[in-house]
Symmetry: C2
Subunit: 502 residues, 2 copies
Amino acid sequence: MDPQTQLSQLKSIINKYSDLVAVIGLLNWDLETHMPPGGSNGRGHQNATITRLAHETLTSDQVGQLLEQLLPYARETDPDSDDARLILVTNRLYEKRSRVPSSLMAEIAKTASDSHYIWIKARQDSDFASFQPCLEDLIGLKRQYAEYFKPYDHIYDPLLDDYEPGMLTADVQEIFSSLRPQQVELLSEISAKSQVDDSFLHQHFAEDAQWKFGVEVITDFGYDWKHGRQDKSAHPFTQDIGIGDVRITTRVLQDYFPSAFFSTTHESGHGIYGQGVAPELDRTPLSKGASLALHESQSRLYENLIGRSRPFWYHYYPRLQELFPSQLGNVPLDDFYKAINKVEPSLIRVEADEATYNLHIMLRLELEIALLEGSLEVKNLPEAWNAGMQDYLGLTPPDDSSGVLQDVHWSHGSFGYFSTYALGNLISAQLWESMLQDIPNVEDHIRHGDFNALTSWMREKVHHHGRKFEPQELVQRITGSKINEAPYLRYLTKKYSEIYQL
Amino acid sequence: MDPQTQLSQLKSIINKYSDLVAVIGLLNWDLETHMPPGGSNGRGHQNATITRLAHETLTSDQVGQLLEQLLPYARETDPDSDDARLILVTNRLYEKRSRVPSSLMAEIAKTASDSHYIWIKARQDSDFASFQPCLEDLIGLKRQYAEYFKPYDHIYDPLLDDYEPGMLTADVQEIFSSLRPQQVELLSEISAKSQVDDSFLHQHFAEDAQWKFGVEVITDFGYDWKHGRQDKSAHPFTQDIGIGDVRITTRVLQDYFPSAFFSTTHESGHGIYGQGVAPELDRTPLSKGASLALHESQSRLYENLIGRSRPFWYHYYPRLQELFPSQLGNVPLDDFYKAINKVEPSLIRVEADEATYNLHIMLRLELEIALLEGSLEVKNLPEAWNAGMQDYLGLTPPDDSSGVLQDVHWSHGSFGYFSTYALGNLISAQLWESMLQDIPNVEDHIRHGDFNALTSWMREKVHHHGRKFEPQELVQRITGSKINEAPYLRYLTKKYSEIYQL
């Protein structure tokens, strides 16, 4: 068989695999947005069945043989071509997945699906004990999973690699160990200054007007409603069901304006990324973003570097005042800008400001590593969580709902995920500095509510390539450096120096 | 291997098959309720992939061997047991599906999925020409499909049998040929009388109040929101995603009250049926209703025999007046009751009254048979439709949107489906007469908004059994007779004699 025939056979199989992955996306989206409680048991079975089929499809002997035959071809052909990258990325996925028996993958999927519903209730009731057995099962399963990747430097490596291809636990720990003292110092400087007033953000903001405003803004950003939609869910997320259908969710707090708005702009960044992948990569493993950190760089960029910037609100604040005249009509732009950038250690990660956010992540990384290593037992997790919150942020949650039960990730069995949020913050600032070299007056555009050049730049440099390049390679190609904390610290320091007059 | 081991192996495979069928259900539900237009292409691929996998799972050699080994066991064991029926029903499905190559099944699924979106637009624009190629493809594919069931009495038999197991085209034609003249005569008698006034139904009825009222009523019927939900779609439908998750949809016309209400009560009948199947039949082919006609007997029963009855409105009309005081406050119950039962030939099947509804069905059956036989070409279908409408109902549609493009079924490739609606009408009246023998005072219950005894009777006699019995067998078991038109004609005659003073 010539390489073209082999490649065509490989594509046909990975198209089927990608369809199954898209279906899993829909099953999950529906689970968290629309499924009635009675569907829970069936959904677990459906998820397990499709996950098993996807696993079997990807790890079949035929795929192994085709890849073996195609690897020399991939090395000979243009290394940046879609075909070469498709073979290499598929091979990496195959290598990774074929080590793990499909029965274990199905068990993880079933357990995660069942656990998710128990978590929702546990969080409602602030009842960690009811979720504890699920978490024990999931961690046990994830430890089993990691065993298949021996030898590893660290048991956490194979989990991290699922979200951040090529990154090691030690790499992240090194970046974080450099980042932490500088963030702590910045936080300490800010804490010494007089606090800004954000009391006017804690008023009644009607849900429909909040929704409308968010929709207007992300439409301007470039989120495409023909290829997406927005729904409500307990925890905001973005789900692609193929390139043509990238959905976002949000949750609305009627007594606190920033929650829905910044989650909407955040998810729109993920959505715009997913919608911007080159159509020719659809139905292949290249149709996803490069990694979760790259994805997060986009969500944090639209949420923070744009959405919490002064130029942005110069344009949008009059519209917001129009929608909420009694709440904001008498609040000057400058006060509003400072309020949405108020720095204050707080309990909930997704509501955290930019100066404390990464500290939430560092706590989670530490706890996940301890759980996986076995140095921390699940039953002691709430206590460890609360101690860590005290250590990192000087706070103790009043209950587990606002503590250890707050995030959806563990109920999905997603261990290894959290650090990608902090890495994404760092990358967002790296990309921003690079973009400024190509579009020096981007702040003028933003001041006019014009995001065409900015979003086009991101599409061309980041979104278009899908998963063709590994995260470190892609960041290096675009910015000339590997993932590092310097630009983000420059960004934070400049921003807060002005707001808090450091 | 002993039969128990074989049965356990068979169940494991059909559980997987049923999971895939449930997933197809979710793909379809999402397609018609929430999917953005950009998802259309991907959805076609997803649907085709899952349909192919479902087909391959059901028709595998292993299933064939297990069934061959298990059939003697099924014949020896209690013929009414779940296990015996599971083997027999699965065998019937296997026999039927294994004749057709999975490539053809996938092509039908892909074509239907693509066609559906084109139909939505064609119906919007009243542009039959844009839908014509889809319809030609689908009919060509369905003719190919039927060929695999030769020898048949009629090319339409294998299609009808997909929805109504065991029924032949000739059986339906015989029932219809007896039904048609009696319906036509009744219609003619009614037409000679002075018409009732329903002008007050054509006012503005706010969507949210319509929605609320429908929800209240079907909750009383017994529709279980923990195992279902209601959304909007272009064409109302019910979709089960396993027994625990049976969803309904409706559409709301704000300028005509009956549309949403009667579609809601209609779909709730399907939903209550789906939710009422015995839980131990979940994840097997027995978890579906006995047939579409049986399903329709339930939807028409809640919509018409209850929802358009005088005792029902005796209880609910004051509540409706409370929700719409300016529209209905001065309309007496008797006038309202007559208005919602007004008989008048009309263009749209789903809005048709009980005296003309079956005539819409007979037209569709005639056209489908002609299309499948090849005596009618798709390009001539709008003309044939309009001629038939004139013949059956004395009307000519002003455009194809309110004519040949009105129904969703053909865009799904669902040929053989329509006659089940009329059969369902007949069965609903047969079941009603049987129920009256067990619950003679059921009208008193309804007059108090109490549907417990009625819905429990339906659950026990019909819903609980799922697909264990073929439609004729089930109707015979419950009513002592095969499917026939006499009770329905008695019901219509009694009702309209009173309303129109025949």
